[in-house]
């Protein structure tokens, strides 16, 4: 047990060190690519808190991304706020939204909840689209550009995303062991039994969604400043949530490192397929997703944690009559 924990710790430290020096060794293209992967890893980890741990498939999680992005854009553009103030306020707005929406929607279960969140996200999309004076409407919104050489800008966003990735990973790791995480997992397993055992389910569900919204909102804010231009269809894009779910599925739902591994795998494959077979892009991705779901329903992390061999997978398939 202790040996294994030490080994895990060493692997983690080495990985962190690699990512700390990486941007100094590779070209700007790769730095931006890895920054994008970090972004998806944060988004997927955030979704993992509500969907993986608590069992609520928040299909509308893009609402926090969009609201985070637009809060930062409006604050920086109209009120001339500095970036970091806007970033923190964006997180705050996302949490407030999660609390209000949570009070309304978290009484729904299963696909009803999923659909309702989707509806909420679409409604917010349209609201932002029509508040032309504030948000620029369909034309989108430009943000003040950060000053500095492209090299410095790349480093800035790389390390900012990396910081939030480390932060959320630490948080989810704590969740896998602490009291709060127990409450989330109990709600996922059986909500009625959880409440009978003294868990205030409404409170903890909103807590989970707020955490999820906080990090999604932060990421949206960073995205806006990074790309310096946002418009409603991009930041409220449902396909982004679909991608997050795929990442969680590939990596392993309800695990700490699953979403990160998933983000790296999906984004690498996606980049590769995109470059080589542009016409077959979605088809190949779809095939990969189906293969993962059939052969590794608990995600790739299962291969690592359960030490499942190829033979083991075949045996599993036989047992499940596939």
């Amino acid at each position: 047990m202790v040996v294994e924990m030490r080994r895990k710790a060493i692997v983690l430290i080495v990985l962190v060190l690699i990512f700390l020096v990486l941007p100094f060794l590779v070209s700007g293209f790769w730095v931006r690519l890895v920054t994008g992967i970090f972004m998806f890893a944060i988004l997927a980890s955030a979704l993992n808190i509500i969907a993986g741990f608590t069992g609520y498939a928040a299909f509308g999680n893009m609402i926090f991304f969009g609201v985070g992005a637009y809060t930062t854009a409006v604050l920086m553009n109209k009120l001339k706020f500095p970036f970091f103030t806007s970033l923190i306020l964006s997180g705050g707005v996302a949490v407030l939204l999660a609390i209000v929406l949570g009070l309304l929607l978290l009484r729904l279960k299963g696909h009803y909840f999923a659909l309702a969140t989707l509806g909420a996200a679409e409604a917010m999309h349209q609201i932002v689209n029509n508040l032309t004076d504030l948000t620029g409407g369909g034309q989108g919104m430009s943000l003040p550009q950060m000053r500095g050489s492209p090299f410095v800008l790349n480093l800035f966003f790389y390390f900012l995303m990396f910081f939030f990735l480390v932060l959320i990973t630490f948080l989810v790791w704590r969740l896998s062991k602490n009291r709060l995480g127990y409450a989330f997992k109990a709600i996922r397993a059986n909500e009625e039994a959880a409440s009978v055992m003294g868990i205030n389910t409404t409170y903890y569900k909103i807590y989970a969604w707020s955490l999820s919204g906080l990090f999604t909102g932060f990421t949206g804010a960073i995205y806006a400043y990074w790309f310096t231009y946002i418009d409603p269809p991009t930041v409220f894009d449902v396909m982004m949530v679909v991608k997050m779910f795929v990442i969680i599925l590939i990596g392993g739902a309800g695990t700490v490192f699953g979403p990160i591994i998933g983000a790296f795998i999906l984004e690498s494959i996606s980049e590769l397929v995109w470059a080589k077979f542009i016409n077959l892009h979605l088809g190949i991705l779809g095939t990969i997703i189906m293969l993962v779901v059939i052969f590794m329903p608990n995600g790739i992390i299962d291969l690592v944690t359960k030490k499942r061999s190829f033979k083991g997978i075949i045996k599993y398939l036989r047992e499940n009559k596939l």
């Binding site: 959880a194 055992m197 309800g254």
Partner: protein
């Protein structure tokens, strides 16, 4: 008996589902430190009554007081915090978690609200020993058999440190040896100071452990008393065995 000894007091407790009177105008009291057995034919309203006590089902009318405090209308988690724990007839374990994790939820969120997971697990170990699941502590709950699941359900309720424990058919589906074991366990928990309300179909078991018995039939309370009084009560016999049997019995006398 003085009011101070009554831990749970129900007045005119009623629950209807449309035209069905699941529980109709039932008055009851549970005395601190006793084991109160609830019996009655299928559909008599026993589980409905328990669900109203622990808040999973709202009352249509009436009131339930726990230690003098009105609890009808409170959310289940508030009632759990006050010190009422229950088990379900159809067990509801938390899949995806080990036995130890399942039970420690009781210690973390029950009456004591322990803040620290390690502390909760230490307390849990002791309860697992009590229900003889200690060698299964790290097993995923999906891999438990019926008897183990029933004991897990009991362990989770005990981990909440309840003052009043509601047991809904914890013996159903068990073999005689297992029933014997769980009976001993219930008596032991009661001796340690927990008041218990128990629903059971295994007559020998419930008559053996209960201090008092309450009989429900078609949602109404038809009898209450010591196990001996209940077994001789004509109304109870007729509810269970039919009126013809009672007439025949009287004829023989």
């Amino acid at each position: 008996m003085s009011d101070g000894n009554i831990i749970l007091l129900g007045k005119g407790v009623t629950r209807t589902f449309g035209a069905l009177r699941a529980v109709w105008n039932v008055d009851f009291e549970v005395i601190k430190g006793e084991i109160l057995g609830i019996i009655g034919p299928n559909g008599a309203g026993k589980t409905t009554l328990l669900s109203m006590i622990n808040g999973t089902l709202p009352l249509t009318s009436g009131s339930i007081r726990f230690k003098g405090k009105e609890i009808s209308g409170l959310k289940p988690h508030r009632i759990a915090e006050l010190g009422i724990a229950r088990t379900f007839q159809i067990v509801k374990p938390f899949p995806g978690m080990t036995v130890l994790e399942n039970v420690s939820i009781g210690a973390l969120f029950g009456r004591e609200k322990l803040k620290n997971v390690r502390e909760a697990q230490e307390k849990t170990e002791y309860i697992l020993e009590k229900v003889q699941l200690e060698d299964k502590r790290d097993v995923a709950v999906e891999n438990l058999n019926v008897s183990e699941r029933k004991r897990l359900e009991l362990a989770r309720a005990l981990a909440m440190g309840p003052e009043l424990l509601l047991l809904d058919e914890v013996m159903a589906g068990l073999n005689p040896t297992e029933i014997e074991r769980i009976m001993e366990l219930i008596v032991q928990v009661n001796n340690e100071g927990t008041t218990i309300m128990v629903i059971e179909h295994v007559m020998k078991a419930i008559m053996g452990i209960s201090h008092r018995i309450m009989v429900l039939h078609h949602g109404e309370k038809i009898a209450e008393g010591s196990p001996r009084e209940i077994t001789n009560n004509e109304q109870v016999i007729s509810a269970y065995l039919g009126e013809r049997y009672v007439k025949k019995r009287q004829g023989v006398k």
